[in-house]
């Protein structure tokens, strides 16, 4: 299936929760969803016999300065097709359901998005920082992040 057909199929099932299709001028297309419906959509994407997305390639969080986006790239080994999902989150309190019960590989990807961008994944089994130490302050990949001058008595001056 191509992304357009997947969009039509999802639109039939989830209606308004799936945003209208926009054809990108260059590059990859994505399926834009309401963040509340993400988990249900993903369960369908994994289990439906016409979709069978068994592999979550990566989870990326993108800071658009007015909002934070989470992008999920999927691949199906069985049917050899791909898709990208996108949800928009409130920048002051980005929250979305964890997909670690759908694809266990999401566990570390989501921890990284939490660590770097401060996205809170609800029902994640172990949401801690992964690359930075636990007592680090702030989310470095946010556009307004200012690198600290000091950390636990170590300075970079």
């Amino acid at each position: 299936m191509n992304p357009r057909e997947i969009h039509t199929l999802l639109k039939e099932r989830f209606g308004e929760a799936v945003r209208d299709w926009t054809e990108p001028e260059v590059g990859d297309s994505s399926l834009d969803l309401d963040s509340g419906s993400l988990h249900d959509v993903c369960v369908l994407l994994r289990d439906d016999s016409a979709l069978r997305f068994d592999f979550l390639r990566l989870v990326s969080a993108v800071d658009r300065t007015d909002r934070i986006e989470c992008v999920y790239h999927l691949w199906s080994y069985e049917l050899a097709h791909s898709a990208a999902l996108r949800v928009e989150l409130d920048r002051s309190d980005p929250r979305v359901a964890s997909l670690s019960d759908v694809w266990p590989t999401a566990e570390w990807h989501e921890r990284e998005a939490y660590d770097m961008m401060g996205v809170v994944f609800e029902n994640h089994p172990h949401l801690h920082r992964i690359l930075l130490p636990e007592d680090w302050e702030g989310y470095p990949l946010r556009k307004d992040y200012v690198a600290p001058r000091e950390y636990n008595g170590l300075t970079n001056e």
């Binding site: 990108p24 001028e25 260059v26 590059g27 990859d28 994505s30 068994d54 592999f55 979550l56 390639r57 990566l58 990326s60 993108v62 800071d63 658009r64 992008v71 790239h73 080994y77 050899a80 990208a84 694809w103 266990p104 590989t105 566990e107 570390w108 990807h109 990284e112 770097m116 172990h126 801690h128 992964i130 690359l131 930075l132 130490p133 636990e134 470095p140 990949l141």
Partner: protein, 387 residues
């Protein structure tokens, strides 16, 4: 991190038996020689048995993604090279392919062939290190010397091509840095002859070695379902019986023109998806890479090697994700551009990071010595886990 922090990050131990010896929380690393870099593994042991193992990563975090946002694409490229320092050409290639796809930049056929040659030589060099260090992990020193003998030839060729011995910065946006010379071509042919000649020696030395087989067969078995669910890619995924290789299934850089086989694990010495299978898939891939290099060398057309790209490269507004088969699995860059000379976001999907996330799943209720065997068989490079 303090002791208190360890207990806080590791969940409570599973208590499956009623007859327990005293449990201990042990740190393997951050400098353990078998961790292939700076990895810390917190293991909860019960005598010789490991009940849980929690990888703690981030010691080599160099902020690649943050730096990449603050530099023009061409300047971010060498940082991508340095993520997985054993597969430098492959990393640079993945980054270039992403930028070229979004920017619709054409690459000449000659450059594409040179990329394939360099990438496959780098893959062989990387697999030779995997071969040598894996034996080293398990207590055999000699294979390491053998692996490095042949790797030296491959590295010298890459040095002549690019000027670097470890970090090549060879693929550039729009092509490659330098052209092939007749001298380098004959070096490559000599290397292929040598590699094929000594490959059976490697097997006599290690692959079929009784002790090695006993340490690796039926150890750390990852089923096909587990491998897919946990995002295994590359040789690890194929060892679990999934015949998937991006060079075949989503070809890039003219890989579709070359004939090669994709080896998978078949449980030859034990169970499909065990440590021996992961090791063996890499060994067979060395030969397959030789085949690809040979064909690319035979079929290389004349032409320029670098397309002219604007000094200030502005990619159109959009985004792209291009996956690429690195020696360790699927490496891809998700590039988001808003039309500036610098990317809005570059996210890298590294195979070592994802392959490592399965450790706690398979290092449960195994012998402590097997943890080393399992970790070595996954063949991680911490530079790319932490980025």
């Amino acid at each position: 991190m303090s002791e208190a922090n360890v207990t806080e990050t590791a969940p409570p131990a599973s208590r499956r038996d009623s007859l327990r010896t005293e449990e201990m929380l042990l740190n393997m690393g951050p400098q353990h020689p078998s961790t292939h870099g700076v990895l810390r593994l917190v293991v909860r042991t019960d005598g010789e048995m490991v009940r849980e193992s929690w990888p703690q990563i981030g010691f080599l975090h160099r902020c690649f993604e943050k730096i990449a946002e603050s530099l023009p694409y061409a300047q971010a490229l060498p940082y991508a090279d340095r993520m997985d320092y054993l597969g430098s050409v492959n990393n640079g290639l993945a980054f270039c392919l992403g930028v070229e796809k979004l920017g619709a930049i054409e690459v000449s056929e000659r450059a594409a062939h040179l990329r394939v040659i360099a990438a496959e030589l780098n893959r062989i060099a990387s697999h030779l290190i995997a071969f040598g260090t894996y034996a080293l992990d398990l207590g055999a020193f000699t294979p390491f010397i053998y692996g490095f003998r042949e790797r030296e030839m491959a590295v010298s060729i890459l040095e002549k091509l690019s000027g670097g011995r470890l970090l090549y910065h060879y693929p550039r946006i729009g092509g490659v840095a330098n052209d092939l010379t007749p001298e380098i071509a004959s070096d490559i042919r000599a290397f292929l002859v040598q590699m094929r000649k000594v490959w059976p020696e490697y097997n006599a030395l290690l692959s079929d070695n009784q002790i090695f087989v006993k340490r690796t067969a039926n150890v750390g078995v990852v089923t096909r379902e587990q491998a897919i669910a946990w995002g295994f890619t590359g040789p690890c995924l194929r060892a679990s019986g999934v015949r998937f290789d991006l060079r075949k299934d989503q070809p890039y850089s003219l890989y579709e023109r070359f004939a090669f086989d994709v080896p998978i694990g078949e449980g030859t010495k034990g169970t499909t998806g065990d440590c021996w299978d992961r090791y063996w898939v890499r060994m067979v891939e060395i030969l397959e890479s030789c085949r690809i290099v040979e064909q690319a060398l035979d079929g290389i057309p004349e032409g320029p090697v670098l397309t002219k790209v604007p000094r200030v490269l502005k990619l159109p507004k959009g985004e792209v994700y291009v996956p690429c088969e690195n020696p360790r699995g699927e490496l891809g860059f998700y590039i988001v551009s808003d039309g500036d000379p610098k990317a809005l976001r570059i996210k890298s999907r590294g195979p070592s990071f994802c392959n490592l996330s399965i450790v706690n799943e398979i290092c449960r209720d195994v012998l402590l010595a097997d943890v080393v065997a399992i970790l070595g068989s996954i063949d991680i490079v911490l530079g790319e886990v932490d980025r």
